[in-house]
Subunit: 301 residues, 4 copies
């Protein structure tokens, strides 16, 4: 069958329901919608290997925030989005309040849709050196280090290899890994964030699968923060047809057409910059429980 | 009828032939394929108002170079592309060898697919001040000035208004205006250049039509140098379906779907940078007849 | 005599007093210190040709703000600096509230200490197109256009020529021209702003004097906004010696040494970025009387 | 005594001779001038602890290339400089031809004079992943990995800690560490490269000394590649006075004046970019014996 490509568990679940029928229940998968700070939050729990196979996603919890007001630059959408992200991320975080966390920005700074991870790492408050050297002022902070892991072609090292080296050296309690994803729909690009307690495979959003970053490979739990920034051309086409209310084509017919062509919205530059800032603020608020949004602005802007 | 959106006369002609049948001849339009420096060159001449109406393009000559080897980074593709562009541009240029030319880069530097015009202007050899002040060394050069015209939102002035002010002040023999275009096909994005002696409407590639830059508005002839950097989502979809060999859908069904969504390839950053350099070199070689490619490298790299 | 190089009237006046003695009064020059929003403001009025000759500055009013808290990133230093600049600039502005103003950023974006003018123009709220096209929403705003005038080497046109073309075309009531200056002292670099109702000679801060931008050359009054970003090496040396409390050397001995070497602080990148933002906000608040700082943040950040 | 600040062994030796007299011989130090590809090469060998104490530099070999033609953009100065650097670096390199090397760019990308290390790492040909994955094509290359080590404030990790983690993980035969230095003289800034087999203390050029990168700290030999990009203000002043032929002042008098003020030439942006490219090419030619300059251009430009 022609497969629409998506890294979002929420979309994988939608697609399953589209093919199986809205009323059918998928064994081993629980989904639930709530609202946080005015944004829709969808939590998909993959509970069994059967559910994992059906959605093509590992067992674990996937939380998707739909940050619609953000692109419309609604009043106070930015602090609301950062706080919503912080609350959901904190709930997933497998680290006690004072334990060290390593934040990793995956992807290629030189290619805008891949740059969201490195840019978000830039916007994260880094405290590990301060907690260590100026404990009288920073003793109440959680030690946080951050790195943009670069890409294989520019370092000669896999992101996973680099992160593993740092985990062995600095021994954090957990890793937060930020990466670009692929969505099935342009409407979700740059306005959706997926949190997952399953770890991540760097570059999966853009077609170059690599060594996974997860508890198995690193020895510590990994929370993934993913943002869809691309759509593949054939998936986009199927989406446009559905939007037009057309009966779906025989998918075999599309196979091969537009293959490998990955697209991105024209205004990707500003959208990626804005969203990276939300991610950095949200991660900082999740990690530093004593800070509120106004505090974070003083440190990060 | 559902219209695939394109700024390329070559594609408009293809689309007409697809609907009317390959063997039908379009009144008032002549098309011809040749080769230059190993690249395909398609010249479409719109000779009458009937032809103009059929293709939705003003009367004039449109020369399209397909620079396929460039993206594959074939050996010496860059100098060959610059020379091919120079030869075709010189043939269209309505200015005698020593006459002054103003080069205008249209578009928004902050949005990558719109930045090709400003970047190409940056890569053009500017000589007007040198010819004027150091005639003993630069007397043999054509005086060339260049400007990135900015965008309405950042200057408060239309590009056309700004260029008109400069034309009145500096009195060039002609204007070369570089801009981003929309193509019907992702396969042509960033590997095609269209030269036209008809002038240009800034921003037409990205949905914000403005005052035209042409002989009527400026009082001097305008040669347009356009590069497709975007495709609209519905057009892309129709293209993917055709590629898949499917009979075309009833176009009415698609109308409204994916509307206004403009896409661009994921690697747009490097593709736009590379092509802007080819444009700057090609324009420089067209304007300065005494320079060869190696000379231009000394001045421009 | 060895001349310390400075573009600041305040420093020229200091130097005159250092050579003539603190108690001597300079004929044709009035100086006065006040405070605005907690910052020191020095106003030097050059009233006669005798005063102009003594200070090597044209007849006119020069207002210097010393924004010391800004580099120390004191709480609310940024809004205070923007408001102080706005109040002083408005007092100098030769345009009635609704009259159009053209803001020009002079200098070279590619050289950090020269980039303050273009960056400040980027941070200025541009309204001319909105007042014209959406008068129902923007009718209460003053029409403001803005341009980074580029540099001779990249456009082939003098900044003065370009600005003159735009003034002829758009007919503003006055021009505000922003440029980098040279100071005698590194301590003033990037923490001082000079406003002058005399116009400006582009590039004078960095050694390439050009056609003046003033009422004589443009036909409309020109307010200059200048920021010292460089010091020449010999001037810096004389300053270090004075700071060390040493009797001044025979200046002839220094002539030729370190000549033409222009220096800048190591952290010039962030200092220029921060100050450009203050300038853009300050100019916007001066021009749009209905806006307060929080309003400007919504439009400009 | 007032100390002129320098990270160049060549300058430390000059200063010693200026104070001790040209004809005095310094015990434990050997210096020798030669020429390579038309550039002056000065080798200073610090042979004993007495020599180390006199020059305030660890025992080891320091090779300084003076790349004067480079800033004047003389014909073919770029390839000559890259080849000269490659030859001198190869002579110092403690690794056999096929052994893996890790190249580290130290310093802060956001501050231009500190960015030379990260930029040079960007211009170095990275092959480790290719040798490993495509041995049929890249088996003849030396495996090279490269990383910009970031700065403490942005990662929370010391550069030394990060490099140690990578050395433990990837086990290279040696490390090449590139960093910005301080010179005593603006005339040497951005036109001098110092190679040293002693390792390096990151950030020593700009006032923030850190954990050393050397055989003791990393367990593998470290070759330092340093470029002076800054001068401190008091040192510059002493230099300007000497240039003016003045007897040197009592240094105590200057102490405290201009203290901590670090300066850089106005055109630092383009100078750092150009020199980083020379470093990347030179390091690549040193490490890949089978490549010539034209080959390196294909890979690196």
């Amino acid at each position: 069958m022609y497969k629409r490509r998506t890294d979002l568990a929420m979309e994988a679940h939608e697609l399953w329901k589209e093919s199986a029928g809205e009323t059918t229940r998928l064994e081993g998968v629980e989904a639930r919608d709530t609202t946080r700070e005015g944004f829709q939050v969808t939590t998909v729990k993959v509970l069994s290997e059967a559910g994992a196979a059906a959605l093509d996603k590992p067992v674990g919890t996937y939380v998707t925030l739909v940050l619609d007001g953000l692109l419309r630059r609604e009043d106070d959408a930015f602090p609301r989005a950062a706080r919503a992200l912080a609350a959901e991320l904190r709930a997933l975080l497998p680290a006690a309040p004072g334990e060290e966390v390593l934040v990793v920005g995956l992807g290629n700074r030189a290619i805008t849709p891949d740059a969201v991870g490195p840019l978000a790492a830039d916007h994260t408050l880094v405290t590990r050196h301060l907690v260590d050297r100026v404990p009288e002022h920073f003793g109440a902070f959680r030690p946080v280090s951050a790195i943009a892991a670069g890409v294989l072609a520019s370092t000669g090292m896999e992101s996973g290899e680099l992160v593993a080296a740092l985990v062995e050296k600095t021994r954090p309690a957990c890793v937060i890994a930020i990466d670009a994803l692929a969505s099935r729909s342009l409407r979700r690009v740059c306005r959706t964030v997926q949190l997952a307690d399953t770890g991540i495979i760097p570059g999966s959003g853009v077609g170059n699968a690599r060594m996974a970053l997860n508890r198995e490979s690193l020895g510590v739990p990994v929370v993934a923060v993913g943002v869809p920034t691309v759509v593949d051309a054939a998936t986009l086409c199927a989406d446009v047809l559905s939007e037009a209310g057309m009966a779906e084509l025989d998918p075999a017919a599309l196979s091969g057409a537009g293959e490998g062509v990955i697209v991105t919205p024209r205004e990707i530059d500003s959208q990626v910059r804005d969203l990276a800032k939300v991610l950095g603020f949200g991660i900082t608020l999740a990690l530093q429980e004593g800070l509120n949004f106004a505090d974070a602005e003083l440190f990060l802007s």
